[in-house]
Amino acid sequence: MNVEAILMLAGTTAIAFIGTIAFTIIFHVPKKQILFVGLIGALAWLTYSICTNLGIDIVLASLISSVCLTWLSRILSFARHEPVITFLMCGIFPIVPGYGIYYTGYYFFMGDNMMGAEKGIETLKIAVAIAVGIGIVLSLPRVFFTFKKRAGEGKRV
């Protein structure tokens, strides 16, 4: 990667950070957590763009990105005693397939059924990839996220 690409990546990551923070206001995320949610959104975008830049296809990129962002969400959720949904809900905005929904609708209504079906299936695949990524990380036991063993305490965050 050359300098220009890295600058571009940094710039778009900053934009993802700001965009995610904007959505935290709509969903009433507590003020203390807003910056952390922004970080998660930025991480989501960063991992997604690095993957696509490396030539990984967008379905797999979405999966990797959703695993990373959910992982960080759970770490923060334990560290800051917050429900994981606080971080996750707005954090996934940078990778949700709004792009796919648009082009699916576009091609179907413009009469290009082949392209419409292709985009529709791709959108579904991305949605499933994000969902599976989140689901896997959420079902991992807590020792993966707390860095210290507190077994037996039985407290859920």
Binding site: F23, P83, Y106, M110
Partner: protein
Amino acid sequence: MNKISSIELSFEIGKSLLENGAEISRVQETMERVAKAYDVDSFNAYVLTNAIFVNGIESGEVKNTALKHIKSTRVHIGRISALNQLSREITAGDISIEAGYERLRKINEIPYSRLILTMLACAAGSMAFALLTGGSFLDSSAAFVCGFLVEGILHLLEKHKTSKFLVNLLASAFVSVLASLFVLIGFGDDSAKIIIGSIIRLVPGMALTNSIRDFFNGDYLSGSIRMIDALIVGVCIGVGVGTVIRLFSMITGGAL
């Protein structure tokens, strides 16, 4: 209904969680935790996306509570977070039942953000995502205006209790009309970028996430409900956008 009952309190906390958009497993766990903290003799709760059923024995008395049809319309993470904190304190044994009711009442009164603030937030968000999809500065400025207005439209439709189908259909169609008009008058280069940026607000990321959480926890019924919800919202957005673009391309003869 006896107001000073730990089963009632647990039920009310669960109800509030569900109404503000928490996932099923969290609601169920929190309710059981609260009931256990107050040493209820027996407690069973069954939670669905839109209903809670509770059955328990408290000081020798059988109590049944059922709530149907919760309209989970607006997400309020601040309240979920506060309820989570409350349940932790109850579990630690610091809070009496009366104090619990008082705290719950205060949590349910945490206000929503002011409309103008959410409109500005939605505008800024739409602008950012228009830039992320590769839009020019002009596109993102147009998305700013679209995002600002779409949040207002959503608020308006919600106030008149419009169905979910119609809300998403109308909002996405509205965005598309606006974006196409903007491009026609030269305020924006690519209507696709403007529309994609502005429909991010509508995309059902939340429903999808919650549905998956429910699936992985074995709550298949609730998971399916939310999954269908996410799918329908997605389809509605696609239809809203597609219809308008088709109409515009017919009117302008394919200029867009």
